[in-house]
């Protein structure tokens, strides 16, 4: 296949928004999903109570640029690294993984070290997230 002919950068940014773990509070995730949609992105919303395995498989099938993880249950230190490991194991290490929800500062440090590209805590404006993605995704696409 000739990949140079189909200019990947002209296609909408695709983002998987997932909520791993058992908390059912997806309001924040839905607000973010809608903001990304309004910014012209294609958002695949998977719903609540996803296992890391399900999120990795969905990211693979949907061929997304970005995986956004949200957790309010405190389980982020186990679940987020599991998603990162799963993506790498399936050859999807190029996908940008970002996180939102309630994540204490000391955990944020460790998650960044594990490979979470950005963490957007409570109070982050959706404009900030959109701007960050518009900057980061073309760069990552160009590297592939």
């Amino acid at each position: 296949m000739t990949t140079d002919a189909d200019s990947p950068d002209s296609t909408p940014i695709r983002v998987l928004v997932a909520k791993p773990g058992l908390d059912g509070h997806d309001r924040g995730a839905k607000v973010v999903a809608r903001a990304l949609r309004d910014a012209g992105m294609e958002v695949i919303y998977t719903g609540i109570r996803q296992t890391a395995e399900m999120i990795v498989e969905a990211a693979l099938q949907e061929d997304v640029d970005v995986v956004g993880l949200s957790s309010l249950s405190g389980a982020h230190m186990t679940l987020f690294p599991r998603v990162l490991d799963g993506l790498r194991a399936r050859g999807l290490g190029h996908m940008i993984v970002i996180a939102g929800g309630i994540i204490p500062a000391e955990d944020a440090e460790a998650l960044r070290a594990a490979g979470i590209a950005a963490i957007f805590g409570p109070g982050t404006s959706t404009e900030t997230i959109v701007a960050w993605l518009r900057d980061e995704v073309p760069r990552r696409r160009a590297e592939r």
């Binding site: 200019s7 002209s10 909408p12 695949i44 919303y45 099938q61």
Partner: protein, 314 residues
Amino acid sequence: MIDGVLARDRAAVARALSAIERDPAGPLAAALHRHGGRAHIVGVTGVPGAGKSTLVAALIGAWRGAGRTVGVLAVDPSSPLSGGAILGDRVRMDAGPPDDGVFIRSMANRGAAGGLALAASGAVRVLDAAGYDVVVVETVGAGQSEVEIADEAHTTVVVVPPGLGDGVQALKAGILEVADVFALNKADLPGADRAAAQIEAMLKLGHTLRDPAWQPPVVRTVATDGDGVGDLVAAIDGHAAHLRSGGGAGWRARERARAYAELRRLVVARFTADVFGEGGARPAAIEALVDALVAREIDVGEAAEGVLKARGKD
């Protein structure tokens, strides 16, 4: 990537779907086209809220139970304002642990009319070449006129919820006419009997059946608890058997309809891009004709003639 698709390597299938969405008529489509033609392509359409995604989830379970592999293309609308989309069909379809025999892909229609995406045929080509036994295409929530699915699928399932009342009457000129199988979903709710009776009465009138030799069955389902899903699978299989019976003339007719529709969509898209320009820059000749039209110097028929004459000269 082609070898990966043919071996049903899911990462390769996923990348091929992205590539074909960018270029539905490129070299990848050409290479995969030679390998397709095995899958039973099942379209699922119906009004928003009819329970299409939940029913597809139940169908996936039934087909998997029978040892058949399933590829799903779930189409949702793009926002006409931003071009973005929220694709939420996985919420209902992707409930269990990952299964090697199921592949679900969400697709935004990127502004295409008719309930499908322009690249839907290309995506079906990928899933067919990957060897999924059944390829399901779920359309955007469709009402009266989104009948394109009938030219994409071998078998079109129209999902109808009870309680539409006279709304069923309003449907009849549109998607009801393209149904090969009706799924009367949410059949445990009040009004199911009436809705089934309305559909059956309409079918008895015999108006404009697409295939005079096939009387579309009306199957009652409750997708959320699996009731009637086995019957629905049997009805879908029955329609495939009908198409393949008598030497397979029906199947070939559907294949021709699919090929024609895809060709037409592609040529119309190219022609439109050719005439009106791609992206933002509109040809100056067209702008001049629009000005003349607004100034009432010419009429719309003359303007259209002018556009067609000016094609390619800009």
